[in-house]
Amino acid sequence: MSFIRKVRSLLWKEIRSELQGKEMLSTMIVFSLLVVVVFGFAIDLNKDLMGGVLPGIIWITMTFAGILCLNRSFTAEQQNDCLYGLMLCPLDRSAIYVAKTIMNLLLMVIVEGVTIPLFFIIFNYPGPQQVGLFVIVLLLGTYCFMAVGTFLAALSSATKTGEILMPILLIPLIIPVLLSAVIVTKGSFGLVVSGADLYLKILVVYGVVFTVLPMLLFDYLLEV
């Protein structure tokens, strides 16, 4: 299918220009490690309390690393007005959205894969009881974040204020997701939280909403 082929080409372009030229990935990993360090000494608690706080710390760190990632995600398009070049092409606008989302997701998943095990080591926490649930909530939460985040990054890249605007659009939208993700993560740590499965359902619903709406709206966003 033409759509998939174009998404692939777009993704190829993303990877070529972001990863090779700019070492986005390694920088993001270092960044999230540093954030962990900042948390580490700024909030140093004893072990009993750590379980209650660690999920929050994980999600806040991922939020900041994600914002960093999103900020970069449309800058290449703004140099030399490349976004106009893309708009000129006969391609479904949502292909751009899909490719950028996949790229951002890829980056985030790699960052998480590296940093989260280190979180447990550094904070000296034994690790989640229900590893399966933990991985699921991690992926689901990250997906929701990037699905709506990429959309908003596109939106704010079209404004003058650009990257300073993006977080303040994104954070309020993403708060329900973070809230649910933190609670489910706590659940996966074996801390008794009432209604954790309800929150998981909320996450799934958000995942669906944040997939359908951007796909429908992206055409309007990049209309001209």
């Binding site: 270092v30 540093l34 360090v37 000494f41």
Partner: protein, 230 residues
């Protein structure tokens, strides 16, 4: 063939003496030195831990000095000294960051705490990693050297904090060995300690010499290439 492609006599001597002293130091640390009463054999990590920490910080001091020298003289040599030393410093700091937690686990019953000493050591490691990143992010030789030197000077602001962390205030991490009251070590341990310190310093010197030579060869190859294509 230029002089850089040959291993000089000094380098050869250095290589061999490093090899020998490391061997001797290993023997003194692992066999000769007495076992510590409370900590047991883990304490033997001490000899490598402290020596590599000191050599690491010394390496960053060299980065600092070479960076200043580069900005004042603008000789590419100083730049080469600065970043080879940064690389080697990161290497030794990595050893500290590996041996420290290995030691900490049995003693403190944790791999890591947010003690100022440990925190500053960790960020030192990050700082000089960032120093390398600056170099990667710039294409132009001159600019690369200049900005890296600027950062190399600035980054040194953290090294004294790391060094004095245990001297300034009480931390979980053991206090200073060397104080104005002398050295708080049993004589046998002291011998082993100084031997390993000496060995690590020699290792640093040898690594420096070698890497500097390699960098010079690289620079020469660049020049040759230019000559070929223009």
């Amino acid at each position: 063939m230029t002089e850089n492609t040959r291993t000089s006599l000094i380098e050869k001597v250095l290589a061999w003496s490093t090899f020998l002293t490391v061997f001797v130091a290993l023997y003194l640390a692992l066999v000769y030195a007495p076992t510590e009463k409370t900590m047991g054999d883990v304490q033997r990590i001490f000899y490598f831990h402290v020596a590599s920490a000191w050599v690491g910080m010394m390496a960053f001091l060299v980065v600092f000095v070479a960076s200043i020298a580069y900005l004042l003289t603008r000789q590419a040599n100083w730049d080469i000294y600065a970043y080879t030393s940064a690389e080697i410093g990161v290497f030794f700091t990595t050893i500290v960051l590996i041996t420290g937690p290995i030691w900490a686990k049995p003693i403190w019953n944790t791999w890591w705490t947010w003690d100022p000493r440990l925190t500053t050591t960790l960020i030192l490691w990050f700082l000089y990693l960032a120093y390398g990143k600056i170099r990667l992010a710039i294409g132009e030789e001159e600019k690369k050297a200049r900005l890296a030197a600027v950062f190399g000077i600035l980054a040194f602001a953290v090294v004294p904090v790391d060094f004095f962390a245990i001297r300034w205030w009480r931390t979980m991490h053991p206090g200073a060995l060397v104080t104005s009251n002398g050295i708080a070590l049993a004589p046998d341990m002291m011998l082993a300690f100084f031997a390993s310190l000496f060995a690590f310093t020699l290792l640093y010197c040898y690594l420096m010499m070698r890497s500097v030579r390699i960098e010079r060869i690289k620079a020469e190859i660049r020049l040759l290439k230019e000559g070929m294509f223009n």
